[in-house]
């Protein structure tokens, strides 16, 4: 397709990119509907307050909560909890042991938990009687003076276990903020001198779920037992940004319920903000369906694809998206393997030259091994094949790169970090980037994995989980490297390398600065590493018996292995750990509880690499995948994550105006809602540092490369500091 007006594609794209770029309005408004929490977003009807009478009552309730918050603040001012410890003559101790609550054969101690023993006077004043930390074996022995605890004026006593809830930077020094995680009341009459045994205290503290293969944290009820909470500002951000989109979806769903014939897909699309492809199509009709755009987005769009050099032909590259064949799926949506062959143009951007689709393309022929090849010479069929490949690519990018590659991948590091890092300075390095990922993943479980994706794509929930586990089976911090740019036009790879350089520089600086303390608390690093390894998934294909597979299956698995290994930079030859009869994918950072001199060089290098990897994934990698969603899946007919077989022989190889293969009305509005939700409701950026939890040095390094990033179409101010959407 060629453009029909005077503007060049490049200028049109730049213009549209600027026009459709998502910004943030800080002005909040009352008497507007709002969400109560991020976890109240739903694929169907979110828990949104829109009725005016309800809003009035909500206003009263809001005032009540404000009053309550005010009273709590007043209480804190009147009855401060000072750090002074009361007591001189140490003659008594609180003893006990703290372990993880999980039903494991062996007790797993929780080390270095901050512990405090407080008394409250009859006049409400707090008296700190003791403080300390649990030891590496989980035991504790808090000394205190018995008479201080048993004074007539003391009305109650309690033992508190805290955890780090927030990191706060002033200049370059980090302060940890603790919140109480668990408290135990102690009767004064029980204290009689000597030791008082609180026995073994099991805590449901960042426990691993037992129902899935990958590392996921236990959250049964978001608002109550989640191990951490969103900040208020985060919730307010989603309120402000998401409400118009939510109302749009609600309107559509109501209309569809009342009379589906009264609304069309085009009207649904038009109701949502215009995205990049729609903007370009208005100025350059057909451009976004062309080969140039196809190749450019595969390289520099949401897909940020891996171009694997052809083994035989120079200058030829393959991008492969593997479909549903070996995963649990439904019979309604097509999801064949899409193998795309590219060549580089003189401008350095790729152009597709052949697309091979393997698998069913219609509802009639269900042979999973059927193959069809398409080239530009196929005319309209070529356009349709590109659409199929684009849709497959969208789904694979969302599930493999976005969810598995960032969200699920990060969660395993987050759980291990929060379970084990406390006194080590690594907590202040990593927590600002690992926070909230478990919360958003829990929400994603509900609305995406259980609801939307199984209804709008070929996957079932089980299929998605199996796929995610497989993809995570080729993700290891140790062998990961940045993508090698194919050409000067490979903006993504160049931006990735630039950001990686900044991240490693920042991490190097941090670790060198705090090396002594890191060494001192190496036990925490060891426990972190053990948790990470023990709960990682098996290496991809390590638990499959190839001897029972037919040759085609074997070949396909080999093909998957080859491509995914390259895509995620996985090294099958690295020595790995066997745990519980499985070959675990994640490499350990260390195998010793103390940093041995002979291992120091290698293990500090491991630590730097792993920390850089975690921060990189949480920031740049996730931002890229998330931010470009609206550009590449913000137009239903352009890219919709799933094409239905329909009832014709042509199946998914039909023009865009064949709505029988496009998502239906409900799924279309849901998809647009998702695309906008995920791209428009970001909060927590490195340079903006809204919660002052990012080391300013990291922001400085990033800003120093602002121009270089801008040249690659990356706005540094939009790079998130964590994965929370």
């Amino acid at each position: 397709m060629s453009n029909t007006n005077d503007q060049t594609p490049k200028t049109v794209c730049a213009e549209c990119l600027k026009k459709t770029n998502i910004g943030y309005d800080d002005e909040g408004r009352f008497f507007m509907p709002y969400f109560k929490s991020i976890n109240h977003v739903e694929v169907g009807y979110s828990k949104i307050i829109s009725n005016p009478i309800t809003i009035v009552f909500e206003w009263i309730l809001a005032k009540f909560y404000q009053l309550k918050d005010g009273l709590i603040s007043l209480g804190k001012w009147l009855f401060p909890r000072r750090s002074k410890i009361y007591g001189k003559l140490i003659d008594s101790w609180l003893v006990g042991k703290i372990i993880f609550e999980a039903n494991e054969a062996e007790e797993i101690p929780i080390h270095h938990l901050p512990l405090e023993f407080w008394g409250r006077t009859k006049l409400g004043q707090w008296r700190k009687l003791s403080q300390g930390h649990s030891k590496p074996d989980g035991t504790f022995r808090l000394p205190f003076e018995l008479r201080c605890a048993r004074r007539f004026g003391i009305s109650s006593l309690r033992f508190e276990v805290s955890q780090i809830s927030h990191i706060y930077y002033s200049e370059t020094e980090a302060t940890t903020v603790l919140t109480i995680f668990h408290k135990i009341k102690i009767a004064k009459s029980d204290l009689i001198g000597m030791e008082y045994n609180l026995r073994t205290i099991p805590l449901c503290f960042w426990e691993y779920r037992q129902d899935v293969k990958m590392a996921r944290v236990v959250i049964t009820e978001h608002g109550k037992d989640a191990p951490q909470q969103y900040t208020k500002a985060r919730i307010e951000a989603i309120n402000e940004q998401m409400i118009p989109v939510e109302l749009t979806k609600v309107k559509h769903l109501e209309q569809i319920k009342l009379d589906p014939d009264s609304i069309t897909l085009a009207e649904i699309q038009a109701d949502y903000p215009e995205n990049l492809t729609m903007c370009i199509e208005k100025k350059l009709p057909g451009y976004t369906r062309g080969d140039d755009w196809f190749g450019e987005r595969m390289m520099n769009g949401m897909n940020r694809g891996l171009f694997l050099p052809d083994k035989e032909e120079q200058g030829v590259y393959w991008m492969k998206y593997f479909g549903k064949q070996n995963y649990d799926s439904n019979e309604e949506y097509a999801f064949p393997d899409s193998l795309m062959k590219f060549r580089l143009k003189p401008d350095g951007l790729p152009t597709p030259v052949m697309i091979k689709l393997r698998g069913p393309l219609n509802a009639i022929n269900r042979d999973p091994w059927q193959e069809r090849e398409f080239t530009p010479a196929d005319g309209e069929l070529w356009q349709q094949a590109k659409r199929v490949a684009r849709v497959n690519g969208g789904l694979c990018t969302e599930v493999d790169e976005h969810f598995a590659g960032t969200h699920a991948n990060l969660e395993q590091y987050a759980i291990a970090a929060y379970r084990n890092l406390r006194l080590s300075p690594l907590a202040t390095l990593l927590f600002p980037h690992l926070k909230e990922v478990v919360l958003i993943n829990h929400t994603a479980d509900g609305i995406l994995l259980h609801q939307y994706l199984p209804s709008a794509t070929a996957y079932t929930y089980d299929g998605i989980v199996a796929r995610v586990a497989d993809i995570m089976g080729v993700m290891d911090w140790k062998s990961w490297t940045t993508m090698t740019p194919l050409s000067e036009a490979h903006n993504y790879a160049k931006a990735e390398q630039l950001f990686w350089d900044i991240t490693t520089r920042y991490v190097d600086y941090f670790i060198e600065r705090y090396l002594d303390d890191i060494r001192k608390y190496w036990h925490e690093v060891y426990c972190f590493s053990e948790d990470l390894v023990n709960h990682s998934v098996p290496v991809f294909l390590s638990d499959i018996d190839f001897s029972h597979l037919e040759p085609r299956e074997k070949a396909r698995y080999e093909d998957m292995k080859e491509y995914l290994t390259a895509q995620f930079c996985f090294d099958y030859n690295l020595p790995r750990q066997h745990r519980d009869g499985q070959l675990k994918v994640v490499s350990p950072l260390t195998l010793t509880s103390a940093l041995l001199p002979e291992n120091e060089r290698e293990e500090i290098a491991n630590l730097k690499k792993a920390c850089s990897y975690m921060i990189f994934v949480a920031t740049f990698l996730h931002t890229w995948a998330n931010e470009h969603q609206n550009e590449d899946i913000g137009e239903v007919l352009y890219n919709c994550l799933g094409l239905r077989y329909g009832d014709k022989e042509s199946g998914v190889l039909s023009p865009e105006d064949d709505l029988s293969i496009a998502p239906d009305l409900t799924r279309s509005t849901q998809m647009m809602w998702f695309s906008n939700l995920l791209s428009r409701t970001e909060y927590g950026f490195i340079t903006r540092n809204e919660e002052r939890d990012i080391n300013p040095y990291f922001g400085e390094l990033l800003l120093s490369k602002k121009e270089q990033f801008a040249a690659l179409d990356v706005i540094v101010e939009n790079i998130e500091s964590r994965t929370n959407i």
Binding site: K84, I85, Y86, G87, K88, L89, I90, D91, V95, S130, Q131, G132, P143, E145, L146, R147, R150, S189, D190, I192, G193, M194, E195, Y196, N197, L198, R199
Partner: protein, 376 residues
Amino acid sequence: MASFNTSPMTKRTSIGSFIWYMITSAWDKMVLWFISKMFAWALVVTLSIPHRYRMSHNNGIAAKGKVRIVDHPAFPPHDFFQPGRTFPARVRHASATFLDDAMNCIRSLSVKFSEHHMESPFDMEMNTGPINLFWSARSFLQFAKLRKQKWGVEYHDYYRIYPQGLEGAKVSLRRNPTSFHNLRYHSLTPYLFIGKDGIKRYAKYRAMPFDKEPETGITTDLSDWDTCNQRVFPNETRSRNYLKDEYKQRIEKEGAKYMMQIQTRIAADDDSPEIFNNQIPWDEKIFPWQDLAVIEIEEVLSWKDTLMTSFSLNNMPKSLGFIPAKSIYDYNSLNYMRSHSEVARKARIFSYKLFGYPPEIPYDDNRNVSEWSGKE
């Protein structure tokens, strides 16, 4: 280790804080006195009169003989402990709380430097084990409250929350020793010792077989959670009175001979309160045990005489008496409480006159009990 606030008493003391200190001290002593008295009267009302019981050591056997202070004492000279001085003596061995010698019990040896069942110039009560199960009046009350005995299992809750109590139990309980005679008994709590030189000291006492026969009945690696289980072994063949029977036979055959020892240390103004803590034995290298007296026992007393034999911490010269206590948390408050239990002793003796003597412990299969069933 947390840093701790210094109390006002270490700084220059103001009049106000001094008065406050006096008031609180007086209050603490009053509380101690009140609780000690109440406890004693509670014993009278609940045990001594209605049941004719001692508080704990009801299962015992008494005997008589003589006690002779060693000829060449290595401990500081004292008017009472003159070298070679001889007194008539009564001793009483007992198994604490249960009426069954074959249970896992703390065993005791009480010595009276007198042949009278009550009057005496010097009494000493000792138990097996170098550390105690409680360390103050307050902890003793908690110990009593959390007993919750049922068929030979007791102090389960107490051991769970007071690790030192559990440790004391582990080292003090004796299961199926071959004889009362070969056990080691400790006073645990320190007493005053103001010798001829007028220097204030503290003293602890212990007794052991004269020939240092190895101690029996010690259980190693006692389970944390099963220490509360003091029941007889399944298919136990030893009778409820086997230890008392052995002692009788021993006395008849060869008598019993003990060495009583003393450990002293000089009192200093800056002594840590922990030196009175019966959970912390004094270092034997710094404060060695010295031979005090040889006790020779020649005749076992009858059951009635055994019942009548009673001991009191008030039967001591003032220079050897108990150390004053300041509060119910004070480590010396245990002896204070003991010294205030005279009324319970006397009430029990009086109850024998009213209701007769409790029967001897029968040779039956009613095991694991701590009370007479009334069917004896």
